[in-house]
Symmetry: C2
Subunit: 551 residues, 2 copies
């Protein structure tokens, strides 16, 4: 904890300072916008950007992760609370904070139980399909505030401001960085400045609103933002804890997946080591802090963390600086924050989520592995048709289904001797000779509950294909572990083969596997023997008959 601070080098300070300023400027419009996505007052998004990143800096393990509001998590928050309270009400805000507590508690618990390996739960196609589906849902949800009325209607002044903001942001997104580069700005600096376009557009729109009193023309504004730091909020609504349990679990899960995928991308770029169990604790503590601030669930966001990284962040001090700046913004007069036009904020959200609409994963998967492409499509369509929460469940089921399916199809080869050598190879690929009555199989997978049945089926298939078999030798060179289910399956296979007059032998059992097997009764009950090498097994069994060699 705080190792980065103990070993802080002075040289890291300029980078951290610059990144802190940039991220704070990015956070103001983003935090307010994502609070709106969650159905909350905009100031909640600022609260979510102060204490949570500070707490994450204490407990997390990533150096450049920027923790705070994030579009998909806000969408899930809004969807989870919608059935319980109307958006904008006090109850809605209380429930959002409670949801952050539930998600935080789930993450902390997983961290204490060292369940960091769960970050491997989603395949990349499933995660990508989920992200794209969620982005479309978020973008669609912002069309109404963008136009000032539900389409196909629109409110002309709002729509003009919204669409103008959108056009400016799209232009800045596509052309600002190249333009700056052509003007001689360093590429990294150009990219970072381009990322500040939302802040500039929001400020400009706010200026226009103030100058022409557009609020009076019916353009919706954020409204008064209470000055001062967030109040400690421990208000609870006891009736709703049960209803928040499942969404809190799912949100905690998604918070972890999104944050880990962002942190891993950056850690690889910096050659850094990420500790997934510490990430769980860091994110869990950040969400508890968000609850205390009266905010809503937060996570590490790839887009913001990438800016933090590009702007020069070396350590979590960058996040501390940006949190302090945001706190200052709330302590200073906040009158100008009340004049932010919602159509412009909607435009910033739409442009932000359009950046998450990447189809590369789908394209690559389509060429490389049609099954993975299908998983992408099913997850995306699941989010669009069933909602974001059901989309997570669809993703889990698909990922787990894929996992079991893959695990349940281990490779098994029939081995034969390469004539004149001690080598045994797959008879399908090498000119290897088998001998009558002796069947040698190499199992190319660890044996565990997910594949014991198919291993068993395959063995029975081969026995049917080699009807005169008297000895079955399993080459165990590729087997690094045998779980309890597989131990029982081996014992049952042994008993069944014994009853049919076939000896079961093992060869090339790895040391650690053999040590474990000695704790079981299998070696004693084995109908055959355990051989050091396949060649020794073949030589011995070819010269004896099973009746003469009972063990």
């Amino acid at each position: 904890m705080l190792e980065w601070l103990r070993h802080y080098r002075r040289a890291a300070l300029p980078g951290d300072l610059g990144a802190g300023v940039v991220v704070a400027m990015m956070m103001i419009p983003q935090g307010m916008a994502y609070a709106l996505v969650a159905g909350l007052p905009p100031v909640a998004g600022l609260y979510a950007s102060i204490l949570p990143p500070l707490v994450y800096a204490l407990f997390g393990s990533s150096m450049t992760q920027s923790v705070g509001p994030m579009a998909i998590v806000s969408l899930m928050t809004g969807a989870a609370i919608a059935p319980l309270a109307a958006a904008g009400t006090g109850l809605h805000a209380v429930l959002a904070a409670q949801l952050a507590l539930v998600a935080g508690a789930v993450l902390l618990l997983c961290g204490v139980l060292r369940l960091g390996f769960l970050a491997n739960f989603f395949s990349r196609p499933v995660m990508s399909g989920f992200t794209v589906g969620s982005s479309l849902v978020i973008a669609w949800g912002q069309v109404k505030p963008l136009l000032g009325a539900a389409p196909p209607r629109w409110h002309a002044p709002s729509a003009m401001l919204g669409l103008a903001s959108l056009a400016l942001l799209v232009l800045a997104r596509g052309h600002l960085a190249p333009l700056l580069r052509r003007l001689g700005v360093r590429p990294v600096a150009a990219d970072v400045v381009a990322k500040l376009a939302p802040m500039v557009v929001v400020l400009a729109a706010t200026g226009v609103v103030a100058a022409f009193d557009l609020g009076a023309h019916g353009i919706a504004l954020t409204g008064p933002v209470p000055s001062g730091l967030p109040q400690l909020n421990l208000a609870t609504s006891p009736d709703h804890w049960r209803a928040l349990l499942q969404p809190g679990l799912l949100i905690g899960f998604v918070v972890f997946l999104i944050s880990m995928s962002a942190a891993q991308t950056l850690a690889q770029k910096r050659g850094e080591k990420l500790v997934s169990n510490r990430e769980l604790v860091g994110l869990g503590a950040a969400n508890v802090a968000s609850m205390v601030s009266g905010a809503f669930p937060v996570t590490g966001s790839l887009s913001r963390s990438a800016v933090n990284f590009a702007a020069g962040a070396n350590t979590p001090l960058a996040s501390v600086i940006s949190a302090v700046l945001l706190a200052l913004a709330l302590v200073l007069p906040t009158g100008w924050l009340a004049l932010l036009p919602l159509p412009t904020l909607a435009a910033t959200i739409i442009v932000a989520v359009l950046g998450m609409l990447e189809l590369d994963t789908l394209k690559t998967a389509w060429r490389y592995d049609r099954g993975d492409a299908l998983a992408w499509l099913v997850t995306c369509i699941g989010v669009l048709t069933l909602g974001v929460e059901a989309g997570v469940i669809v993703g889990v089921v698909l990922s787990m289904g894929t996992l079991i399916w893959r695990a349940s199809r281990p490779h098994i080869a029939v081995l034969g001797r390469i004539p004149g050598t001690e080598h045994f190879r797959n008879v399908d690929r090498y000119p290897a000779a088998t001998s009558a009555g002796l069947l040698i199989l190499r199992i190319d997978a660890n044996l565990f509950f997910g594949n014991v049945e198919s291993v068993n089926e395959r063995i029975e298939d081969e026995l049917r294909a080699h009807p005169g078999t008297r000895h079955l030798v399993l080459n165990m060179l590729a087997v690094s572990s045998i779980d309890t289910t597989a131990l029982f399956a081996l014992a049952e296979l042994n008993a069944s083969l014994k009853a049919r007059g076939i000896g079961l032998h093992l060869a090339e059992v790895k040391g650690p596997v053999m040590d474990r097997l000695r704790d079981s009764s299998l070696p004693d009950q084995l109908g055959g023997r355990i051989f050091l090498s396949t060649a020794m097994a073949a030589d011995h069994l070819n010269s004896t008959s099973p009746e003469k060699d009972p063990r």
Copy 2:
């Protein structure tokens, strides 16, 4: 379909006939008892034993499976309907039939989608813990009918009859088969006759009830059983479909797991092949048939199927015969069925589920793999404290967690050359020599989303441990597949190594893996080369520097 009938050999008939009679005699008390467990009138258990096994005989793939009511599935049925309707009401019966339809539809759908591999979903310890927990719940639920009143109270005549029946059944269970064997009965026949003890005890108790008019003394009886075959029942209660969806899904899942585990045990004994996708269709169709009969979810039961097998069943004709016999029993006068005393039926249930209380799996797991033993305990305690439905979910989560955990820890070895040879081996286990600047890693697992992160972490760890590395060679001999997630991870690793001036090379890539990789852009972008053998890679890379050998 019906292949067994087309190739029916006359010699199989006596065995099938005998087994059909035995199973029918076993079915009568068992079916009625398990209907009571599900909160249904006893006759529903008989209905569930006629059409479902007939339909399973048409579609299933197991030769000796006996499909019908089963204790755990009945417990789940009762638990699922309890919140929706009171036991014994007409609505309860309609919902039970609908639940069979939902479970059947789920199974059929899984069969059509060829999801038979899901039978590998539960590890054996989890399945065993679930079975033991459920058995205890069922046994405890029968204490009240056994004693005629909720303990600590009891109704003296009921308790006397119930405890006497229990004592007789426990005696028969432990001592009848050995006694018969000592009297010269063949061991298999002795075992089969012993299994008929429940029928004999029930008949005797019914005789006692009739002779002494015990119904008048307050002993609860089954009550009038409507004569005749089940009426086609298509009554629906539209409001409840939604509420039945989740339990129907869980019941379908458990039906499949229980039936497959029974069928696999017997198929192995007979050296037969089981087709899991056909089992899904057979069980699905049987449950739809159960709905049509106005019954409740059914499955293949190990205890009954084992009796069927031991009594000589050779083909599904045995099940057809037992179904016909049960239908006859309903067509003939059914007055005697009304006098079956419930305390005796409760005793048969308790003795039946005590047979499922096996602790061998726990004991073996405790000695062999403490983690598996823990999974057993957590699942069992989950069923006891949270209920049978939550127990299934706990089991799924535990099994999946174990699966990901195992999959996420692939074995990776640093290889070195055995001096004077072409062989490369794990430096931890062999006196193998590494050379400066060249790091060779062997990845002993298929690469997929579940392990890419830990492979990546391990590679970075090794690079940190070998700071002078200029070339990283991945030996891919043990890698049989690379999914889309792993493809992206390799591409990102390649880019990251390139940026650090390290060449990434592959060696001994299997043919099918290489064919797939050619569909991607990885071979073109690779910072290093793809070598046929590790020795060739080492020879080439030791004689060149990375700058001189860009590809």
